[in-house]
């Protein structure tokens, strides 16, 4: 009788272990899934062009029909992340372009500190629905920018507005935020040494 009871006990604890290990697997998987949502979300936004993230829709070599009958106003904005000591602004407030026409504009950044700083610009287009119709062929945001102490740098952007841009959009805003690369900050270099 006792042995029977014991074997029932071991059976129960074995099936409990099986249930627990399966459920823990789900728990760990769902914790990972929470983090996987971050790249999934980016991929989703890239494909759909939602959320003001630009790029991806047009191939760079595509020759676009210039639509002379339409004019779209593109405004330029510049801002800095909280701990970025540069001065950063567009050289022109806005331009009027025909969809399909490549246009070159310039931004300028000045490093007023006495140390070299590397920065990265992050672009955003508003309204969000227009983002997938806005293509940059050249941009200072494609690479990191390093400015020596006191250096002033003029940086070009070449962009095309897709002629398929919905009719009801006549105004776009392109904004950049510059932030310091973590490796460029005092704090991080200090901790590396």
């Amino acid at each position: 009788m006792t042995s029977q009871l014991n074997s029932a006990d071991t059976n129960a604890s074995r099936s409990n272990t099986r249930v627990i290990s399966r459920l823990l697997f789900v728990v760990v998987g769902m914790f990972g899934f929470g983090f996987a949502l971050v790249p999934l979300y980016d991929v989703f936004c890239d494909i759909t062009g939602l959320n003001g993230k630009t790029g991806g829709r047009l191939a760079l070599s595509d020759a676009l029909q210039v639509d002379m009958s339409r004019e779209v106003e593109v405004e330029f904005l510049a801002s800095l992340n909280a701990n970025m000591p540069w001065e950063f602004k567009p050289l022109q407030h806005s331009v009027k372009v025909h969809p399909g026409q490549p246009t070159r504009v310039e931004y300028v950044a000045i490093n007023k500190t006495d140390r070299a700083i590397t920065g990265q610009a992050v672009p955003s287009v508003a309204p969000g629905q227009a983002a997938e119709y806005f293509e940059k062929t050249e941009c200072f945001c494609f690479t990191e920018q390093k400015l020596e102490p006191g250096e002033r740098k003029q940086m070009p952007v070449i962009f095309v507005v897709d002629p398929d841009l919905p009719e009801d959009i006549s105004q776009l805003a392109l904004s950049y935020t510059f932030f310091t690369k973590p490796s460029g900050t005092q704090h991080a270099t200090a901790s590396l040494k």
Partner: protein, 530 residues
């Protein structure tokens, strides 16, 4: 041989005494009791915060508290009521009732059970410590609303946000362990003959709820971990300047948050499905449709999260998808409501306190369900979003829904727990005061919300004054009526008319075959279910 067994059996039935009985408890009944008392205490803590909020809103203008403190009150009220009251109360009821209902001697993992309870006082100690520090003038308690949207909780969060983050981590671990325990118990410890489709509906709803918990609590842990990393480790999950996105926070949060609202209602559905047949003296109408409806609600809860985010600038296709998916939930929920009504149809009904709460639940939860349907219509939601209409909606489903379900369950099972009948007169008094005052409290919120009063504000335009004054009166009556409930529970614990083992004439199920009060160790030899 048999004498030896007798002796060990007697030894097992011996209750440990003193504080150790509770600290080191591995007994499902004791742990269930601790969960329920913890939830009851938190109910009064969170309720006092609600009264501070309502007192400030009694009249337009700022009278009693600063707006900063008001924000801390709304945040902590929400967090405590969701994680400290509704969820622990359900886990407490599951601890007490699930083993007894399926004929098991205890939970499958009794030591883990002890741990999952004792994490909770620590978790809420951390959260309430942030409020204590705020009252002592040492910086703000969490003030970003219970949904803790980034960047309010990341870039602009007060230092106490870290207390909040670790508190949520602890609650999450506690809920996950509780859920694993319940699933293991239901899967492995059913009495012979207790097939899945013979389990009481309460057990079924908890079985499904436990799966929801396991699926989404880790996502909540993930989102607060991302917040912690954004705040201290230089990542930019939710910071647009660093390439992240604050809207991502809302997606991840609501991927947890929507199943969470079903976690807070499904066990109440289960309680009501036990009570209505007992007092209608009929079998539940459509048992298997009840099970399938619960499962469909659980499945749908995973694909509707963005209906909380219609105004974030989603494409029309997304809005339509989430709108239609949300409307679909009305179908299984409707199945449940109609099944409860059909169970009562031509039944020989009596109206003891648990039944009164159950009927009020069916009626008032349905109102909350309908306002939910209104909110799920995307174009209309642009008007309702973040107004008091939303506050009215979720208080109808959580207070007159989930909390009424819990109260009904407590009145229904307390004779089994204590061996004494509760005071029926006091119970009825508690019910009528609660039912009427909760409507005085929450119904006017629909009107001010539709007229455009935003939620989470300490001051409002003059035209909302009358309805807000009404709501505040309702809130105070509601709050103080709960003292009757507390008194009634304490009185029942101390004595009263002895309850029979069946307690209710129409009660069916294994738990009613045990004597009242249920012995410390029950079903040491499993019963056989035909």
């Amino acid at each position: 041989m048999s004498a030896v067994i007798e002796e060990t059996h007697e030894h097992h039935d011996h209750k440990p005494t003193g504080i150790g009985r509770w600290l080191f408890s591995t007994n499902h009944k004791d742990i269930g009791t601790m969960y329920l008392w913890f939830s009851f205490i938190m109910f009064f803590v969170g309720g006092s915060m609600a009264l501070v909020i309502r007192a400030e809103l009694f009249q337009p203008g700022l009278q009693l508290i600063e707006p900063e403190f008001f924000n801390q009150m709304t945040t902590l009220h929400g967090l405590i009521m969701v994680f400290g009251v509704i969820m622990p109360a359900f886990v407490g009821l599951a601890n007490w009732m699930v083993p007894m209902m399926i004929g098991a001697p205890d939970m499958a993992l009794p030591r883990m059970n002890n741990w999952s309870f004792w994490l909770l006082p620590g978790a809420f100690g951390l959260l309430i410590a942030s409020l204590v520090m705020s009252l002592m003038g040492m910086g703000s308690a969490p003030n970003f609303g219970w949904t803790f949207y980034a960047p309010l909780s990341t870039t602009y969060g007060p230092s106490s946000t870290d207390f909040f983050i670790f508190s949520v981590h602890l609650m999450g671990i506690s809920s996950i362990m509780g859920a694993i325990n319940i699933i293991a118990t239901i899967m492995n410890m059913r009495a012979p003959g207790m097939t899945y489709m013979k389990m009481p509906i309460f057990v079924w709803t908890w079985f499904i709820t436990a799966y929801l918990l396991i699926a989404v609590m880790p996502v909540l842990a993930g989102v607060v971990t991302m917040m912690l990393m954004d705040r201290h480790f230089g990542t930019s999950f939710f910071n647009a300047a660093g390439g992240g996105d604050p809207v991502l926070f809302q997606h991840v949060f609501w991927f947890f948050g929507h199943p969470e609202v079903y976690i807070m209602i499904l066990p109440s559905f289960g309680i009501i499905s036990q009570i209505v047949p007992t007092f209608a003296r009929k079998k539940i109408f459509g048992y298997s449709s009840m099970v399938y409806a619960t499962a469909s609600i659980a499945f749908l809860s995973f694909i509707v999260w963005a209906h909380h985010m219609f105004t974030t600038g989603m494409p029309v296709a997304g809005e339509l998808f989430f709108m239609y998916a949300t409307m679909l939930i009305a179908i299984p929920t409707g199945v449940k409501v109609f099944n409860w009504v059909s169970t009562m149809w031509k039944g020989s009904m009596t109206f003891e306190t648990p039944m009164l709460f159950a009927i009020a639940f069916i009626f008032l939860f349905t109102i909350g369900g309908f306002t939910g349907l209104m909110l799920c219509i995307a174009p209309a939601d642009f008007q309702y979003h973040d107004t008091y209409f939303v506050v009215a909606h979720f208080h109808y489903v959580l207070v007159t829904g989930a909390a009424f379900g819990i109260m009904a369950g407590v009145y229904y099972w307390i004779p089994k727990w204590t061996g004494n009948m509760y005071d029926e007169k006091l119970g009825k008094l508690h019910f009528w005061l609660t039912a009427i005052s909760s409507n005085v409290l929450f119904f006017p919120m629909h009107f001010v919300g539709l007229a455009g009063m935003p939620r989470r504000i300490p001051d409002y335009s003059l035209q909302f004054a009358e309805f807000n004054a009404m709501a505040t009166v309702g809130a105070f009556v509601f709050g103080f009526s709960q003292l009757i409930f507390l008194y009634n529970v304490l009185k029942t614990q101390r004595g009263g008319v002895k309850a029979t083992s069946k307690v209710w004439e129409g009660a069916e199920g294994l738990e009613w075959t045990l004597p009242s009060p249920a012995p410390f160790h029950s079903f040491t030899t499993p019963p056989t279910v035909k």
